[in-house]
């Protein structure tokens, strides 16, 4: 007799996600190939170097002199793919520092500089991951935050941890207040609420899933590292309401990195 495999709802989620991603890529990709109006800049330095690839190890194979024009095709990290406006155009990669000294016209100067601290204080979105110690177990938190203004931030977080007895998933939203947003190392206070889902281990005595309301409070530090990256460390206290008489308390220390926009 053959044991029939039943397709559960969760099975195949990654393969379905993969197909969706591929389809999305296929739909979006032709847009990136469209002929767009490329930005043309004039070289004001003595010359700019064109490298064969977007990295400092790649050799310089061409030089564009002052007063000549180049079109900017695209940008990858600190490098710009430019195309000369000769009869037979040549494409090469130019480092950001050299692009700083080019101009589109007398009145307009391109903004090629690195992301600065000012972009950090004016950020809108943050997405990041924490790794922490949740009551002596390792916990991973994913979070997506939005800054209303420089002092207030609302974020949705998903924390996942487990121990010998059960697996825990906490879905919660927090409101964070940053009293000193202009500091490079700025502290914040957070208050949150959400749901904690407990899935007991297969061999546990009590083996029913449960879902409890929970609130959290915490204190953290944000440090602007460089470009789009910031470091985040926090200590959070979670209180879950199991029933009318019982509450559970958990303490978590965590640190992580995030990207901001």
């Amino acid at each position: 007799m053959r044991r029939v495999k039943r397709q559960t709802r969760e099975q195949g989620i990654y393969s379905r996600l993969g197909v969706l991603l591929l389809a999305l890529a296929g739909i979006l990709f032709p847009f990136s190939l469209q002929a767009k109006d490329l930005v043309t800049v004039t070289v004001r330095d003595a010359y700019i170097d064109l490298h064969t690839g977007p990295g400092r190890g790649f050799p310089i194979f061409h030089v564009v002199q002052r007063h000549e024009q180049v079109q900017i095709v695209k940008n990858k990290t600190d490098w710009f793919l430019v195309r000369t406006t000769d009869r037979y155009p040549i494409e090469g990669w130019v480092y950001r520092a050299q692009m700083l000294r080019t101009f589109t016209s007398d009145e307009v100067k391109q903004r090629f500089g690195h992301l600065a601290f000012k972009d950090f204080t004016e950020r809108d979105w943050e997405i990041g991951v924490f790794s922490g110690n949740f009551e002596r177990s390792t916990a991973i938190t994913l979070y997506l935050g939005y800054n209303f203004n420089s002092n207030l931030n609302i974020s949705g977080q998903l924390l996942s941890t487990n121990n010998v007895f059960s697996d825990y998933r906490i879905y919660f939203a927090t409101l964070e207040s940053t009293p000193f947003p202009k500091w490079r190392l700025s502290p914040y206070f957070s208050l949150g609420a959400g749901i904690m889902r407990t899935t007991p281990s297969r061999t546990a005595v009590v083996s029913e899933k449960r879902s409890d309301n929970m609130v959290s409070a915490g204190f953290g530090l944000r440090y602007y590292m460089t470009r789009r990256v910031l470091l985040n460390t926090a200590v959070m206290q979670y209180v879950t309401f199991i029933d009318n008489d019982n509450t559970g308390e958990f303490l978590e220390w965590k640190a992580g990195v995030s990207i901001f926009y």
């Binding site: 990654y14 993969g18 991603l21 990136s32 589109t104």
Partner: protein, 230 residues
């Protein structure tokens, strides 16, 4: 006056004097170079200095930025004591600089049973749960970037990178926090497409479906992938 104030005043006077001395011949030289007579009589209504200077506009014009990389990967996953199975998943990477990038991957596979299950004829795990899923987020460092040469006509952008990160592995419907380390090679076939070969080590603690003591195990994974830059 106090000695200190006098000292500062003297220094200021000296600085102004020096400045004037340097500037005077410079203005004469500028006048000569531009071809104007230094003592030209200008009409009264034509000012020498234009006080309203056009402010230079600084704009950020949209340039296509390709720092996001997405793709699928496929390979093998060697789960300790469960055997080796093929695995496939998705990876999304964001390049912060030419040296650093973040990567998020997720994959799943169906595990074989433990050897003891066949021998002892018991099943602890229903077939529907007999799978392994993981997701993790890694930080990657392009350790050795450069150019590689296929033959005398073809050169490709190449990078050997190291990765480390944290994640979560679900084995037989039980979650396990995981530490990942790995290394890989990336060859840029074109500007927007890359080919990778990776090896990765997942470090986690497992109890083998609740029948044993918890041990730290290393699950090795090897895969290759094609990714696209957006």
């Amino acid at each position: 006056m106090e000695g200190r104030r006098f000292h500062i005043l003297l220094n200021a006077a000296l600085a102004v004097g020096l400045l004037l001395t340097v500037m005077a011949p410079a203005t004469l030289w500028a006048a000569d170079v531009s071809g104007n007579q230094p003592n030209q009589n200008l009409p009264v209504d034509e000012a020498i200095v234009q006080p309203e200077v056009q402010r230079r506009k600084i704009e950020k014009v949209a340039i296509d930025t390709e720092n996001l990389e997405m793709g699928l990967f496929t390979g093998f996953y060697s789960a300790d004591r469960y055997g080796t199975t093929s695995i496939s998943g998705i990876r999304v990477a964001y390049h912060i600089s030419e040296d650093l990038f973040f990567e998020v991957t997720g994959a799943q596979t169906t595990l074989n049973g433990l050897p003891e299950e066949t021998l002892l004829q018991y099943y602890t795990v229903p077939d529907a749960d007999r799978n392994l899923k993981y997701y993790n987020i890694n930080l990657g460092y392009n350790f050795l970037p450069g150019e590689v040469y296929f033959n005398e006509n073809w050169a490709f952008n190449f990078a050997f990178y190291l990765m480390g990160g944290v994640g979560n592995t679900e084995i037989n419907a039980e979650q396990r926090s995981t530490l990942t380390t790995g290394a890989g090679m990336r060859v840029l076939l074109t500007d927007w497409m890359a080919f990778h070969i990776n090896m990765r080590d997942h470090i986690l603690r497992d109890r083998y479906s609740g029948i044993g003591q918890e041990q730290t195990i290393h699950n090795l994974e090897g895969f290759s992938s094609i990714t696209f830059f957006f």
